[in-house]
């Protein structure tokens, strides 16, 4: 233990209803790149927040350089030599690089001196950065450099990086890795969080794998294949229920060569997406968050137009907005319930009107039929067991699970030909989640085509007939869920199709 930089011993953190971390122990040595691997919700974020002093562990102890380490806040963690680069940057666009860095320091030096130090550090580590440039003009990669240099100026012993490559181009990834290797050569340890298996194989010497808040395995990623890492991460506990096999119906919806630039800065562009769904079929689309899920749903719902790329029952609908698509039978339910799928301060009746006006004929010559809208809301509440005092209540007064049942029910009760949902059971309690999945299966059983986008692999295994995954805006070729192995799934999520070898995989460093 003499050469350990940071030792975690039996860390536990529980939130109401969920244990985020349980009995997590591992050791980070000076000068090593230590990977923290795991699916979404495996407890990686909570763990690094404890190390960085943002969250206090319920149990367990940490030892840094042989001294007990209990940071009360991030400033204390920084003083002890722990620095962190977050996935989402905390920079002010209107200020320049040096001003941004000064804001994050406890005792900023004189601006001229600080600029000089920024130049020195950026040259020493091969991260070119002009301290006088305005942050608003910088690319995502350059913004990350600001964050990294901010950390390096504190001369950290341990640098935590949360998904650092998610916003970088491959070239920027290469520069980042060179810098990180230089740092470790000087003895700085790096705790590296990522889903990207090839990156981890290229960079890390040691990996700790978390699943459901617990350490399930450790390994040297350089000695493992991406397939083996994926298996460790996903686990072999995936439950695949046998399902009544339906004769596949006709293709109802097809997407052909859909490419779309994201409307938001940190969104993901979609590249050349092809998919087909048949009547009576559920297509499951997996993938790690932020790989184009929101954008794909937006392209299906009609919020983003994609002329020529989408065909519904033989008719090109890519150029149509949301309501014409609804009237033709394509309905969707976005991931974000409050503010996207539903208006938080509006009543359930008004929210029923939000997507139901076209198919349920809730207007007449533009005038609203409030009685019909309320009746529709009541039917949703009854049919989907939405717990609420009544349809006059505001959407935001419902719990997440109840609102989600309302949102999914609102679409299902409109008898869609195609229903596309994004994260249908995100943040929903187990029984409500089971109800929602059952409703989606019933819908498909009655002849609709269903697309379920989800990060929950168990869910996809339970409902989907065919499985595919989004990775950096690209969609893998769908394969039947039946007979799919855990490693296949993990590899598709990491952007590696079955017929590619590990070494030629895209997105790898």
């Amino acid at each position: 233990m003499a050469d350990a930089l940071l030792t975690l011993d039996g860390l536990r953190k529980a939130y109401p209803g969920v244990v985020a971390n349980d009995d997590v122990s591992f050791t980070i040595k000076p000068g090593e790149v230590h990977a923290l691997l795991g699916e979404n919700g495996a407890g990686k974020s909570t763990l690094v927040k404890m190390i960085y002093g943002l969250v206090k562990p319920d149990q367990g102890a940490m030892v840094l350089n042989g001294v007990p380490f209990t940071p009360a806040n991030p400033a204390a963690a920084r003083a002890a030599g722990v620095a962190m680069v977050f996935q989402h940057f905390s920079l002010f666009d209107a200020l320049n690089v040096a001003e941004n860095i000064a804001l994050g320091m406890d005792n900023p030096p004189h601006p001229r001196e600080l600029s000089q130090r920024i130049r020195d550090v950026s040259n020493a580590y091969g991260l070119p950065l002009d301290p006088d440039r305005t942050v608003g003009d910088l690319s995502a990669g350059e913004r990350q450099r600001v964050e990294i240099i901010r950390c390096l100026l504190q001369d950290p012993k341990l640098l935590i990086m949360d998904e650092p490559t998610s916003v970088l181009t491959p070239q920027e990834v290469e520069i980042l890795f060179t810098t990180l290797r230089k740092l470790t050569a000087e003895g700085t340890a790096i705790l590296y969080i990522s889903h990207k298996l090839e990156e981890i194989r290229a960079l890390c010497e040691h990996a700790t794998i978390l699943r459901l808040g617990q350490v399930v395995d450790t390994c040297d990623p350089r000695e493992k294949s991406a397939r083996e890492l994926a298996e460790m991460m996903v686990g072999s506990t995936l439950h695949v229920p046998s399902r009544a096999e339906l004769a596949p119906g006709e293709v109802i919806l097809s997407v052909d060569g859909l490419s779309l630039k994201s409307a938001t800065e940190f969104g993901t562009n979609l590249h050349d997406i092809h998919l087909e769904v048949r009547a009576g079929e559920v297509l499951g689309i997996g993938g790690v968050a932020g790989n184009g899920q929101d954008e794909l749903l937006g392209a299906l719902s009609g919020e983003a137009l994609a002329p020529g790329a989408i065909t519904l029952k033989g008719e090109a609908i890519g150029h149509l907005g949301p309501n014409p698509r609804r009237s033709r039978g394509l309905l969707t339910a976005p991931e974000e319930r409050l503010g996207h799928a539903a208006a938080p301060d509006m009543s359930l009746t008004e929210n029923a009107l939000l997507t139901g006006s076209v198919r349920k004929h809730l207007t007449e010559k533009g005038f609203l039929k409030w009685g019909a809208a309320e009746a529709f809301a009541l039917r949703i509440i009854e049919a989907f067991d939405v717990r609420t005092p009544g349809p006059d209540n505001a959407a935001r007064s419902l719990s997440g699970g109840n609102l989600q049942k309302f949102v999914i029910g609102r679409e299902i009760l409109q008898n869609p030909d195609v229903l596309a949902v994004n994260q249908p059971t995100w943040g929903v309690d187990a029984s409500a989640a089971a109800d929602i999945r059952q409703a989606l299966l019933d819908l498909a059983h009655h002849g609709a085509a269903v697309i379920v986008i989800s990060q929950d692999l168990d869910e996809l295994m339970e409902v989907a007939d065919r499985f595919t995954a989004l990775n950096e805006g690209r969609l893998a070729d769908p394969v039947p869920t039946r007979g799919l192995t855990v490693e296949d799934i993990g590899l598709m999520m990491g952007g590696i199709s079955g017929d590619m070898t590990d070494d030629t995989a895209e997105g790898a460093a």
């Binding site: 949301p322 939000l354 997507t355 609203l368």
Partner: protein, 362 residues
């Protein structure tokens, strides 16, 4: 310790009660201000709120003024409220009001001295079109180039004021006015005069238009899909897009309606109570209407009441200046307080106030 807790649903009771509370708070704070100015606060407040309606000598004169002042405020505020509900901030109603007045009066003066009954409707239409066109400038710029409608519409007010000065000294100047600035007086041009409908009631066509606008807006917001889309866009823009609302169309619609109503208000004012196009016929109605819109909680019925209340403080304020020698700035402060208290009390409809005892933190 006071702590604010977000309510699960906005409180209907407080949404109605806060305007009343705000008026009471304004009376108290205003009373203190008047007392500090050395005036009797009770008398000042009575002069502002009571005397304009019920005073023996002033009442008969100031009662009609209530409708004269409230009419344009309500008409403009109704239009503004549609945009404000959707999160589109037309701050330049004053400019649209002026341009509407110039266009409406211009059409009338072009046909001087006709006595056709068609002239007045044509003038109303021209006023509405003028205001609409002036509002389309920030609208189109926002839709095409993403400019900020607050700045553009506000700056266009100053352009409109310059146009008004130019029109009253040049293009629309009374040819028989011996070189004085200002147009012909519409009071001597019956076909183009926006006269009182009932003598000494203050009721002119602009007031009628305001009442129609209130009903129109009420039906639109509560019974029509377009009104639903306006509210949805204001409350949850992403959900509105998901529901199929086209943002560009909504921007042009709400700016267009508010511009047209403001333009009509300007036309009714210049051909009625003001009587002629002059450099300073506009008296800031376009700006005060913003206060009226918020005081009425962007609700048509609320705006109707708020417009009347605001008109009352105007008339009462003038009366107080005259009778008690209160400075004009004090009256403006008083009106400012009203808006301040209203917005501050707004928190009550969305939050619940909890008084907490100091607890010992562990």
């Amino acid at each position: 310790m006071i702590r604010l807790e977000k309510r699960p649903s906005p409180s209907r009771f407080w949404a109605t009660a806060t305007p009343i509370l705000a008026v009471i708070a304004t009376m108290i704070a205003g009373g203190i201000m008047f007392a500090l100015l050395g005036k009797d606060p009770l008398e000042a407040i009575r002069t502002i709120f009571w005397d304009p309606l019920f005073h023996e000598t002033f009442g008969p004169y100031s009662r009609p003024q209530l409708l004269v002042k409230a009419g344009p405020l309500i008409l403009i505020a109704i239009g503004l409220s549609l945009g404000f509900r959707a999160g589109i901030w037309n701050i330049g109603a004053e400019g649209q009001y002026i341009v509407g007045a110039i266009c409406g009066a211009g059409v009338g003066l072009a046909f001087y001295p006709t006595d056709s009954v068609l002239l007045f409707p044509a003038m109303v239409l021209a006023g509405a079109l003028g205001g609409w066109a002036w509002a389309m400038i920030p609208g189109l710029l926002k839709v095409k180039f993403g400019t900020n409608e607050i700045l553009v519409s506000l700056m266009l007010v100053y352009v409109a004021e310059s146009m008004l000065a130019s029109a009253s000294q040049g293009l629309l100047r009374n040819p028989e006015g011996m070189g004085f600035p200002g147009s012909r007086n519409f009071k001597e041009f019956p076909a183009g005069h926006n006269a009182e409908i009932f003598t000494n009631s203050g009721m002119h066509w602009g007031v009628v238009a305001a009442f129609i606008a209130v009903i129109f807006a009420y039906v639109l917001l509560t019974r029509h899909m377009l009104g639903f889309q306006v509210r949805l866009t204001g409350e949850a823009p992403r959900a509105a897009k998901f529901a199929g609302v086209k943002p560009a169309r909504l921007i042009l619609f709400s700016l267009g309606v508010s511009g047209a109503l403001a333009g009509m208000a300007g036309m009714f004012e210049v051909t009625g109570p003001a009587g002629q196009v002059s450099i300073d016929f506009n008296s800031g109605y376009g700006f005060t209407a913003i206060i009226v819109a918020f005081l009425g909680r962007l609700n048509p019925i609320g705006i109707l009441l708020a417009g009347l209340l605001m008109a009352l403080t105007y008339i009462g304020g003038e009366l107080a200046q005259l009778m008690l020698g209160l400075p004009g700035a004090a009256i403006q402060m008083f009106q400012g307080m009203l808006l301040f208290f209203l917005l501050a009390m707004d928190v009550l409809s969305n939050y619940r106030v909890r008084w907490l005892r100091k607890e010992v933190t562990s």
